[in-house]
Amino acid sequence: MSEACQIARKQDLPPPGGYKPIPFQRLPAKQYFSGYTMFAMYIGITAVSAYLYNINAKRIAKNEIEMRSAKMAIYPMLLAERDREYLKQLRRNRDAEAELMRDVPGWEVGTYYGERVYKLVPPDTLIEPIFHEYYAHSSPTEWFRRAYHKLRC
């Protein structure tokens, strides 16, 4: 048995010099900025960027005011132009109706076979037409162009 103890065997021994000490303390994360620094940075960056933003915002506000004023200035003229075109078209419609229904028995221009649309008003009052009447003489293409205008834009 003593001979067996003299054979060199591999054993799991501690490293030479012993084990190093085991670190068991907490390692907190590294803090680059403190809390006050962060607040100061936030306020500083906000102030600088607000200044830069305001330079441009003033210019844009001026442009918007200019554009709005221009639109308000020309709005009455555009409205007047539209009304004039509307009245001219009413006249053209009346002439076309007279031309079209010339040979239809019993038809008078502006009435429905002689029966006036509104009976208790003077005969020469302007009765504003409905869409169908305004577009009564138009081609189907133009009709649909106007009727579905909002879908196409």
Partner: protein
């Protein structure tokens, strides 16, 4: 045609005039004339006496006569195109798109 509730009192009058043409409508004049006539004569006599006013109001509300005019004109125009009386540029008269 029942226009007013069976028992009229201030409580029913609160919401009585909510839906009418008086605020924004194009039929304001016709409606007020008809309602004044009805108020003067009541419903039974008013059916007979205010019939013309009612017809104007009904026409303003439903625009039936104006629509019938359109139907008649359109039919006549299609008939004339089919028989060949209107051709080419004479077929239709289209308004400008932004004028209505």
């Amino acid at each position: 045609m029942s226009i007013s509730p069976f028992l009229r009192n201030p409580v029913t009058d609160i919401t009585g005039g909510l839906v009418s043409h008086q605020m924004l409508g194009s039929c304001q004049k016709q409606e007020i004339r008809y309602m004044d006539c009805l108020e003067a004569y009541g419903l039974d006599r008013g059916r007979v006496k205010c019939s013309e006013l009612f017809e104007d109001f009904h026409e303003c509300q439903t625009k039936t006569k104006q629509f019938k005019r359109f139907v008649a004109m359109r039919k006549e125009r299609d008939r004339q195109i089919a028989e060949g009386k209107l051709k080419g540029d004479e077929k239709y008269l289209s308004p400008r798109i932004d004028s209505f």
